[in-house]
Every structure is written in C-alpha cells, then in structure tokens.
C-alpha cells in the first residue's frame, strides 16, 4: 500500500463512527441492560399463581391484649359463640387472635371498651367466684354476662358501662367468626348466618402523594357513651 493510501484509510476509519452517529436520532434510547427489557413479558395470558388466605394456615401473633386479657377474651369467645352443629365456634375460627389484631389497630376509644370490659369481667369473676373469668364454667360465666345483654339497633349499642362492652364484643365476635374462612367452609343451614360476600372496591387511582405526606388530622372521634341527655352516640371503630 502506498503511504498516501494508508493515511487515507486511517483517516476514513477514524471518521466512520462519527458519520454513522450522524444518521442516528438526536437522543437515542440507551441500549437495554439485558437481552429482554425487564417489564416486558407479563400479558393477559400469563398464568396467575394460586395463593391462599392466611387463616387456617398460619397463626396471628398476639400483639395487643395482655396474657390475662387474652385468656379472658378466649373464654368469652367460647361462651358467646361455641360450635353449634357442624359450624365452627369462635375459637375454631381463630376469632380471639383476629380481634387482638383488629382492636389493636383501632382508635383508642374502641381499645378502651375492650380492655376495660375484659378487665371488668375478670375482676367481677374474682369477686364472685375467686377465680379468673378464663376458669369459669358456662353457668358461672352466664351469671355475669346475662344481666348485661340488650337488644339494640345498628350503630346504637347500649351506652351504659358493661352493657356496651358485652353487646359490642358479642357483635364483633359473631361478625369475625361468621366472616372467617373456617365458617364459610361449612354450608349454612336454615337460619344460620352466611359469610358476607360482596363487591370489593380496590383503591381507585389512589393519591400516592397524599398517602405519604403529612396530613392534617380530623378531630378525635366522639366518645362511645356521651353523657348529655340528648347526646348522639357514635360507635368508634
């Protein structure tokens, strides 16, 4: 090769990439980091993994009630909603531990209804029978509970102390049990309640900014048992 040809070849090679680049768009997309872009692939035909609800497979960790309160709640659940026929009772539906989670996540007023109520049950039991509520037989437990049972309409539980706890707890225990997986697995006969089912709405275009920002708070919920003559009770949940 003549020296002149060699120089021409070197110059053309050194300019080639630049001339190639000049044919590209102004801001080309960066090359993919891997053979397939990582969000590509999921499509309507993709099989969905089958998952189970946790109830009946795993156990809820007790976080809220004290051991004594929990023992009282366990006994209360068993007394108020024992197994009837083929249907599981509150204990088989793991209602006490579910309520530990639910009440522990609830506003202070609701926590107070429960902790106050469970402690009252236990002290009443000690006073009458010199043993904790958890150790009472059905007749003894009934003697404490029955005087406080009331009839009531939705959103208006009895406001008087003790009756509020007994009736609210009874309602919650029934709801938690009837809506459990264990209850749903046994067909309901005649007038037995059925597990609630319905149209569940997911968050609709949720506002992630608001979820993460400091937000102003509304006033504390109203008390469960207002004192004035014409007070309007609300049931803090």
């Amino acid at each position: 090769m003549l020296r002149r040809d060699f120089v021409r070849a070197v110059v053309s090679v050194s300019f080639a990439p630049r001339s190639l680049l000049s044919q590209q768009p102004a801001n080309p997309a960066p090359p993919p980091p891997a053979p397939v872009p990582w969000t590509l692939g999921l499509n309507p035909k993709t099989p969905l993994p089958h998952t189970e609800v946790v109830d009946g497979i795993t156990e809820t960790e007790q976080r809220f009630f004290t051991p004594v309160e929990m023992a009282t709640l366990v006994r209360l659940c068993d007394v108020l909603l024992p197994p009837i026929g083929d249907k599981p009772g509150a204990l088989q539906a793991e209602t006490p531990l579910f309520l530990d989670f639910l009440i522990g996540s609830s506003p202070a007023a609701r926590k107070k209804v429960y902790t106050g109520g469970l402690n009252w049950l236990n002290s009443e039991s000690q006073k009458r029978y010199r043993q904790p509520f958890a150790k009472l037989d059905d007749t003894q437990a009934d003697a404490i509970l029955k005087p406080w049972l009331r009839t009531w309409m939705n959103d208006h539980p009895p406001p008087e102390p003790h009756a509020d706890f007994v009736n609210i707890a009874h309602d919650d225990i029934r709801t938690a049990t009837v809506n459990s997986k264990a209850w749903s697995e046994i067909p309901s006969a005649d007038a037995q309640a059925s597990t609630t089912a319905g149209l569940y709405w997911s968050p609709i275009e949720p506002d992630i900014y608001a979820e993460s920002s400091d937000r102003t708070r509304i006033p504390a919920h109203v008390i469960a048992a207002p004192k004035s003559a014409n007070a309007i009770p609300a049931y803090p949940r």
Binding site: V53, V79, L80, L81, P82, I84, L102, S105, P107, L149, R150, T151, W152, M153, N154, D155, H156, N167, D171, D172, T175, A176, N179, S180, K181, S184, D190, A191, Q192, A193, T195, T196, A197, G198, L199, Y200, W201, S202, P203, I204, E205, D207, I208, Y209, A210, R215, T216, R217, I218, P219, A220, H221, V222, N230, A231, I232, P233, A234, P236, R237
Partner: protein, 523 residues
C-alpha cells in the same frame, strides 16, 4: 397556548351537574365539566370477594372513615378519605359528612327513594310561621319533576295525600302483602296514610348521572369532561367583578391549572359548593353563604317480628313489600312538642332477623334466629330538620386538605324539635306495630349524628330578597347573574323527603332558564 373560554363551567358530575350538562349541551351550549375524583370502572376496580379474603374480615378498616357509618371493608375505597379531605367540628357536636368524589358523585350510590316536596315544605312558614317560604311552590316545579321521574323511571302508585304529591310513575300495582295490610289497618286510628314506596328504577340496574344524564350530554359533542380536577377557587374578572372561571389542581400530579368560562354552575354537592364560594369570597353579599344547614333525622326506628311468619311459615302472601308513611304530623292536627314532621319507611321481608334483636347468645340465640327467620318487619324514620341560622359551616383557615385548600368547619346540632320528633316516631311506630299484632323486638329513639342521612341541604338558600337569601328562584346568585348553584345548597327548607328528585328538578329548571337567558344574550 390554550386559551379557550367555555360557555359554561360545571363543577361536579353528580345528579345536579349531570342534569345541568344534559340540559345545557342539548341547548347547544359548550360545557366543561370538572370532577374532583376519578372515573370508577367496576370491571377494573371491583371484584366479588368473600369477607375472609379481606384484611379485616369485612369490618370497617379501623380508624378510617369514622364518620361514615355506611362504610364497610368492601366499599371503604369509594368514600372520600376523611384525612385526605378533612373537616372540623366541635367534639360535642359531631357531624357525619359522607362524600363520594368519583365521577358521578353520590349518584352512584343512593337509596333511590324518589319523592316530590309538597307545599307543606315549599310554604312551610305559611303553615306554622317558622323559617322562610321558598320563592317557588310545587306548581312551579311540577313539570320538571314529571320529566325527571320519566328519566329516572320512578315507580310508585297514585296514592299520595296532599303532603306527598303524585307524579309521573311507572305504576306499582303489586298487591299489599298480608303483613302490610295489617299494618295499614292498624295505622288508621293514628291518622297515618300508608302509601306504596317510590323509588327510581333507573336503567340496567343503575339510576345515576353516569348512565341517565351524562351519555345524553356526551352525544351532543358539546361536553368536555375532566376527572381529578380539584377546584381551588373561582376566579373573578377584574373589570366586571363577575366570576369567569376557576383555578384547579390536578389531584394526582399537583399541577396547578386554570380555565375560563362565561358562566359558572356549581354542582359539587351542598357543602363543597358552599366551601368553594366561601374560599373564593364570591356571592356572599347577604352574609348567608354557609347558614341554615339542614338535613334529615335518621337512626330512630322499630324492628318487629310478624308472629305468623315464624318457624318457617313465612310466605310471599304474608310477608314482603315496602311502604312509605308520609309526614302525618302537623297536617290536619297540631303537635304540642314539635313543628313539621317525619315519614316512616316500612319494610316487610322474608329475611333473617338481626341477632342484635335478641338478648341471648350461643345455642339459645341460634334457636331464636331459627324461630324468627323470615318474619322481620322494620320501620325507620326520616324527620325534617328545621333551618336555623346558627347551624352553619364556615372556613377553618387553620386547616387545609391534601391540596392545600382550606377546609370546612361544621357547627350544627339537633334541637328539642328533632329529638321530640324522633321520640314520637318510635312511640307511634311501636304502638301501630303492637296494634297490628307484631312483636316489637328492638327500638331506638336516638338520632344518628347530623349529616348521616347524606341529605345535607341549605347553606345557599333561595329567596326573593337578596338580603335574606343567597340565590334567587332560578338558583342564580343574587350577586352574580352568571353564577348558579344547582345542588342541594339552594334548599330553603329540608322536608322529610329524600332530596334527589328536587335537586334534579331544580337543576333542570335552572339550566333551562340559563340556556334561555344565554340565547337572549342576557347572560
């Protein structure tokens, strides 16, 4: 740069806004509709599930929506989040502000009870001297009610007394069940009229703005709609002093926007429309924007059992059907303990009786539930709340919502009038039930907090005197002829009736007036 000026800006997409959009666009008027929330798509956003698949087994998520008694875990995400859009009140006087910001607003979720107001409401002051009369009467609104009833396919019978005017109904000629016949017979000595329920059948299972009104507006090609547009304030033309559009913020991005329009129609729901006026300092020369907040007393009621329907003996001939007992107090007689009156919703059902109706538990409770299954008979009260100046909302400048917009402070409470009415309703309901041979299982005289009925009305009441009212008889601001409020804020009195039909009729009437004035270039 986009600088389009719309003919009419409509804020809100529920029954009131949807009707305004339909009427105005069908008159050839270009409208822009802003809605604060997104579009709800059942196919995309909802799924049928059993409660045990949800985190709280169907219980309302704790601490959320404390003032939405209607909320449960299934529907918790459709209501306005009380922390995202807070409001304040004195803890001694709670208020339940129940809101939906999805496109279509609360028209997506309502009980469908469809009543006209009568002149006992429009001209209440003439009857008992309390409050103010509306500047219109039933005769003014009747033609509009009739057209609304046709659109919403309201079913009912032509059995209304003067205090519950009949309408343009899909006739309900179902015979009364025997339990209802017994109730009717027992109610006669109490001078209680018992009528067939009146409810909007709608179409395809829904009676909402999104399926009965907005499609008509969209077909005209004259409607532009924007979702997730949270209106911050109305803007005012510096030269004319008239409203000329609004500032809004995109709900998700926080991008601040504005839009211009020749006319502004507020249809954001009673308290949101009022909040917007107050935050904009517009239309309040009377000082009455926010005043005379009213709703209806809900909560009191009676639950009964029909003995003949127990132990598996309930039949369709015996049980079933619904009735409305329209207001019967202070019509031909005069109560000594309260003004105005209440209605009773009456329902007979072959259905389980709620366990709360028995002071029992365990096997004994189950035995009761078994025995009483299918025999349930209910009465619930809807009572008129009087319009009082002191019951009001105002801006709380110390608190803002998620978009920095000052929130409302609600100051309202029920008085002896409402409590006495509730007591009377439960006493009379129980007495009639017992006279009919029913067993009363439970009753409640205590009202739910104000607001619970989701029938908040007033705060921009209409009237002929600009010093004593905010709007004129056309729902038009006394201060600004290009500003209209077409939702429940215009009510001068609340009545006992579900307000939806009246809101729709008022919005239709106001919008036709507006279209006429625009065509005559008066606005």
């Amino acid at each position: 740069m986009t600088n389009e000026t719309f003919d009419v800006l409509i804020i809100g997409s529920g029954h009131a806004g949807g009707m305004a959009a339909k009427v105005l666009t069908e008159s050839g008027i270009r409208c822009l509709m802003l809605n604060a929330g997104p579009v709800a798509d059942v196919a995309r956003n909802a799924q049928h599930k059993p409660a045990y698949e949800l985190p709280y087994r169907g219980f309302k998520p704790p601490g959320r929506l404390e003032h939405v008694f209607q909320a449960n875990e299934f529907n918790a995400n459709v209501w306005v989040d009380e922390q995202e859009v807070p409001y304040t009140f004195d803890a001694a006087n709670p208020y339940n502000w129940v809101r939906v910001r999805l496109f279509g607003g609360r028209s997506l979720f309502w009980s469908r009870q469809s009543f006209r107001l009568s002149d006992y409401e429009f001209k209440g002051k003439a009857h008992d001297g309390f409050g103010e009369d509306w500047p219109i009467g039933h005769a003014d609104l009747a033609p509009y009610y009739s057209r609304v009833e046709d659109i919403f396919q309201v079913s009912g019978a032509m059995d209304g007394p003067p205090q519950m005017p009949d309408g343009n109904f899909v006739l309900d000629d179902e015979p009364w069940s025997q339990s209802m016949q017994r109730f009717i017979a027992a109610s006669k000595p109490f001078n209680m009229p018992v009528c067939k329920q009146r409810r909007a059948l709608g179409r395809d299972g829904l009676a909402s703005s999104v399926n009965l009104l907005l499609p008509d507006a969209e077909r005209t090609g004259k409607l532009t709609s924007i979702a997730n547009a949270v209106v911050r304030e109305l803007t005012v033309d510096k030269n004319t002093g008239q409203p000329n559009g609004c500032h809004f913020v995109d709900r998700l991005s926080r991008r601040e926007m504005h839009v211009k329009a020749r006319v502004v129609v507020l249809a954001a729901g009673t308290l949101e429309s009022t909040r917007l006026l107050l935050n904009s300092s517009v239309g309040n020369s009377s000082g009455l924007v926010g005043r005379y907040l009213m709703d209806q007393v809900y909560g009191p009621g009676v639950t009964c059992s029909v003995p003949e329907g127990r132990n598996g003996k309930a039949t369709k001939e015996l049980m079933g059907g619904g009735a409305i007992v329209p207001r019967f107090r202070n019509i031909t007689t005069k109560s000594t303990t309260f003004l105005r009156g209440y209605a009773l919703n009456v329902t007979s059902r072959i259905a389980p009786v709620d366990p709360r109706n028995f002071a029992a538990y365990g096997a004994k409770l189950q035995q009761k539930l078994q025995e009483y299954h299918g025999s349930s008979f209910h009465m619930t009260m809807m009572g008129e709340v009087l319009g009082r100046y002191e019951n009001h909302v105002r801006i709380n400048k110390g608190k803002v919502d998620a978009w920095g917009i000052p929130v409302l402070h609600v100051e309202t409470k029920y008085t002896e009038n409402e409590y006495n009415m509730a007591k009377d309703a439960v006493e009379v309901g129980s007495a009639v039930a017992e006279a009919a041979g029913f067993e009363v299982l439970s009753k409640n005289m205590v009202p739910n907090p104000p607001g619970y009925s989701i029938h908040e009305v007033g705060t921009c009441r209409m009237g002929d005197d600009p010093k004593r009212s905010v709007l004129n008889r056309w729902c038009q601001s006394h201060d600004h002829k290009n500003l209209f409020v077409v939702d429940g804020a215009s009510f001068t009195s609340a009545g006992w009736q579900n307000p939806t039909m009246t809101i729709l009729a008022l919005s239709m009437r106001a919008s036709e007036y507006l279209a006429g004035e625009m065509s005559k270039r008066n606005i």
